[in-house]
């Protein structure tokens, strides 16, 4: 029990810088949420339950477009699909005997950053470490979103306009450094920019929601890239156990 307590507080400690960053970025996400017509409570709930910058941005574009619920499910599946991979990777970090409840709870808490600090722990992951980081970072993200919605109403237009690019700055921070190292990723980013721009200029596609365009373009680009440039196996650490277990 004491070991779990230590792990929890280590998680809280490592989660503090994440929480601070989240608070600032969630604020600008709140501005997008406000444009989509969400109340502060709705923004808080969305961030508490979905907690993904790109995923929530896409979520708000679906709401803005008044698109069908099925489209929401599809868009979230596409924008958050990286968590599927992170969840796969984290499953290797767990002791095989880890109970289902812990697997569920740690999985629910996955974000880019929480995943990053959890996967880099030495040895097996103690779920309580992740809980500590989630405990401090998730409320910061959710409250930040709600405050962004509230303050978006009182901030001058010039400030709102400036903050409207913060999220895109974050996205650049995620996609540009890997583009430098990996030419295929760089090509994907450039193709994404170009195709997205061209599609936005096609008047016949004006009726298609932005989120649907994003999803379809993503599937096409990623599918082609995966077909022509499959990731070499050597990039992955050796793995001997390929059993799949129904829990």
């Amino acid at each position: 029990m004491n070991r779990n307590k230590n792990a929890f507080f280590n998680g809280v400690r490592d989660g503090i810088p994440i929480a601070l960053g989240y608070f600032a970025v969630a604020f600008s996400l709140g501005i997008v949420a406000r444009r989509a017509g969400l109340s502060p409570i709705q923004g808080f709930l969305s961030s508490l339950l979905n907690h993904a910058s790109a995923g929530e941005y896409a979520e708000f574009t679906v709401i803005m477009a008044n698109a069908p619920y099925v489209e929401m499910a599809f868009v979230i599946l596409i924008t958050n699909i990286r968590y599927l991979l992170m969840s796969c990777a984290l499953s290797q970090k767990f002791n095989a005997n880890t109970p289902l409840l812990h697997r569920f709870m740690v999985g629910f808490g996955i974000t880019d950053e929480i995943f990053g600090i959890s996967i880099s722990r030495a040895g097996n992951l103690n779920p309580w470490y992740s809980y500590g980081a989630i405990f401090i970072a998730l409320p910061a993200w959710s409250v930040g979103t709600a405050l962004g919605i509230v303050a978006g109403n009182i901030l001058p237009v010039s400030i709102v306009s400036a903050l409207s690019v913060a999220l895109y700055g974050m996205f650049l921070a995620i996609i540009i450094p890997p583009s430098k190292k990996d030419k295929v990723v760089g090509g994907i980013v450039i193709a994404g920019f170009l195709i997205s721009y061209i599609v936005s200029k096609i008047p016949q596609l004006n009726n298609v929601s932005d989120s649907m365009k994003i999803s379809v373009i993503t599937i096409i680009i990623s599918g082609l890239a995966a077909f022509f440039f499959p990731i070499p196996k050597e990039n992955e650490p050796a793995d001997t156990d390929i059993t799949q277990e129904e829990a």
């Binding site: 600032a24 709705q42 599927l84 999985g107 903050l163 690019v165 974050m170 996609i175 994907i188 994404g192």
Partner: protein
């Protein structure tokens, strides 16, 4: 037809929770299919690129402010600046262009 925002949030939460939880609860080995593995690896880069452009240009009041924010953001990211720094820098660029630089032209 107008949709309920709470239902939208519920659907989004449900799907993202399933995505996060299913592999962790069911799979104990790595994905072996090379196409699927590669596809999942590339998806975040493609989707974030598509979402960033041209939206970064249409989001601010002046398109030129968005274009410059994009250029500055790419250069900063290329040189390894951290995420929060880049986000802040892009905001400063837009604010500067729209409120200071514009008065000189």
């Amino acid at each position: 037809m107008t949709h309920n925002i709470y239902l939208y949030i519920l659907v989004a939460a449900l799907v993202s929770t399933l995505i996060r939880v299913i592999p962790l609860t069911l799979i104990k080995g790595k994905i072996q299919n090379p196409f699927l593995r590669s596809f999942l690896y590339y998806v975040p880069y493609a989707t974030l690129a598509v979402m960033t452009f041209p939206a970064i240009i249409t989001a601010p009041q002046l398109p030129i402010a968005g274009i410059l924010a994009l250029i500055v953001g790419v250069v900063a990211a290329w040189h390894g600046m951290n995420m929060m720094g880049i986000a802040a820098l892009c905001c400063v660029v837009v604010f500067f262009i729209e409120n200071v630089a514009v008065n000189f032209f």
